[in-house]
Symmetry: C2
Subunit: 338 residues, 2 copies
């Protein structure tokens, strides 16, 4: 019904039009956004998880609600590996590290007999499966030795723009979950500030986060090396040192959230035991707090595994975290794959 | 001349009006913004500094300009003490620390005979003038002992909301420079992302930065303590440890800029030798880069001192930094003071 048509059809229609107008403005006592707009989460199936998200965003954004949160405090944090993009068969950044080791290995014949390099050079899957955290760090430092930050950014960008995933045969950076990208957009449209809080390397993620998720570099928190300020022949630059600055995992996540963001998030989304502390912190503030845990249970469309998530899954019910099932809650998994 | 008046005054005036209109639209080969809009920097006197700012913002924002910078890369960084707000007679945060020491001293009679506490408790100005960095840290840790981050934020907020500056008799947090607040607004309106990069404590600055400058907590970088994730009777929280996380001064500034922001700024504004590396880093990128140094040379309206800024002032000319004079370039210093 066009307003102008209604107004010229006599007193009854004018009254009806006014009534509809009032209803449209005040809503029907339901979440405003969900009723008034097109579905902001079309890649999510109807169900408990989608409802929890819509309700939470609606409550925290509604000045009339007890759960209203000022926009400046609408902070949402997302793990990256296994939460925003896939993490199998190996963490994508590990594939990037292995590529670096193979490239460096031509200058290091001794690596053929030296662990953990030997495992990578010889593609020894059994040995690779048992690498320790220290092994992985040793490999990471050796794969891309000390260089300027800008050189590293170029190398990461080149890898992300060319190397394809072994199973899905698309670029790694294309393997982002469509429902999660929708959720990021929905949160930003609702004046949330969205951050990545990942155990992965902060600069590796920054090399694609703005393109893939619309998350700019300053909103990425991750594990980091130390930098050194240096004078080069071209001016001043930052050198990446082979020293750990911070491991952004487990209790390191809330600690770095405070350092970078400066307040407690009200929404956290993770998928593994490394996200437990971030979810506990988010869910125990004074005001509203929603924590969600993505469960990989869809071997057909993605992967099916609990390893590394057993503790988090066990805690979800008692801690009040919303478990999200890829099989049941995602109508689409990857946007790029039919 | 009113346009409508000109149009009705015969062909010559119409031509003149058209000419003026064309000039107004295309500009005079000068910054578009300055000509086309109301003056975005009314508290700045006309001069080299104001022109440098208007030119730089105009160039970096103009897609037709060689100096155009994509909005995501329009990063501007500001020192805080002596750049955005005053820093005399002592750093405001030091006044806050001294207040904490005096409050704690009732439980610490031994401080009467123990440096550096003795200097504060006895108000020994000569001794206070010679405190080392280590002394200041010792005082800072003792002034507000280990507590949760939320408790500290409340204490800082209470102090900032009540304690007045000894000379100007207004709240410390009101002693922000009007021209600098205008500049922050102007940059944001031109799609810059604005950050504080201060040697001061990150959480102390966060306690007032959003209110005073419109800079939210996540855009504040400062010196920091270590935090510890703890479980309390009320849930999970972060405890402030009496250990230094990072000293955000000198070369620490570009290092923390990379950690928090993830790219090189294109505009830096400082006022002391502690800002030299940040300005060098900003001015030596591949694209445009503007560094500015605020010079305190106005004893009447603010303060007149070079101490702690000698090296930076000496470097300004050879490094191409724009020196900004409070006396000459600021038509208003503090908005709250007539």
């Amino acid at each position: 019904m066009k307003p102008s048509a209604a107004i010229h059809c006599g007193p009854f229609s004018v009254r009806l039009f006014t009534k509809l107008l009032v209803l449209a403005v005040i809503g029907f006592g339901q979440p405003q956004y969900a009723k008034a707009q097109a579905d902001p989460l079309p890649s999510w199936n109807e169900g408990e998880a989608k409802m929890a998200l819509l309700d939470f965003v609606s409550q925290t954004s509604d000045p009339e609600s007890d759960g209203f949160v000022m926009p400046v405090d609408r902070v949402a944090v997302f793990d990256n590996d296994g939460t925003l993009w896939a993490e199998k068969p190996i963490y994508f950044q590990i594939a990037f590290v292995f590529r670096g080791i193979l490239e460096q290995s031509v200058d290091h014949p001794e690596w053929n007999n030296q662990m953990p390099f030997k495992a990578v050079v010889g593609n020894d899957l059994e040995a690779l499966r048992h690498l320790s955290v220290q092994d992985v760090l040793t490999l990471a430092f050796a794969s891309y030795p000390e260089m300027t930050q800008s050189s590293f950014a170029e190398i990461a960008d080149a890898w992300l723009s060319t190397v394809r995933h072994p199973r899905f045969d698309v670029l790694y950076k294309e393997l982002v979950y469509a429902p999660m990208v929708e959720l990021l957009d929905y949160l930003r449209a609702s004046e949330f500030r969205v951050f990545i809080v990942s155990g992965g390397g902060i600069e590796f993620i920054r090399a694609f986060s703005n393109e893939a998720y619309g998350i700019p570099p300053e909103n990425v928190i991750g594990s980091s090396l130390r930098y050194e300020f240096v004078e080069t022949e071209n001016g001043y630059d930052l050198m990446r040192k082979s020293e750990i600055g911070s491991i952004n995992d487990k209790a390191g996540k809330p600690v770095n959230i405070q350092l970078h963001i400066g307040r407690r998030p009200i929404l956290a989304f993770g998928n593994s035991d490394g996200d437990i502390e971030m979810m506990q912190y988010t869910s125990s503030g004074d005001g509203p707090g929603l924590s969600l845990l993505l469960h990989h249970d869809d071997a057909d469309r993605e992967y099916d595994y609990d390893k590394g998530t057993e503790r988090a899954l066990g805690l979800a019910s008692s801690e009040g975290w919303q478990v999200v099932s890829i099989r049941d809650d995602f109508s689409t998994v990857f946007k790029v794959i039919e």
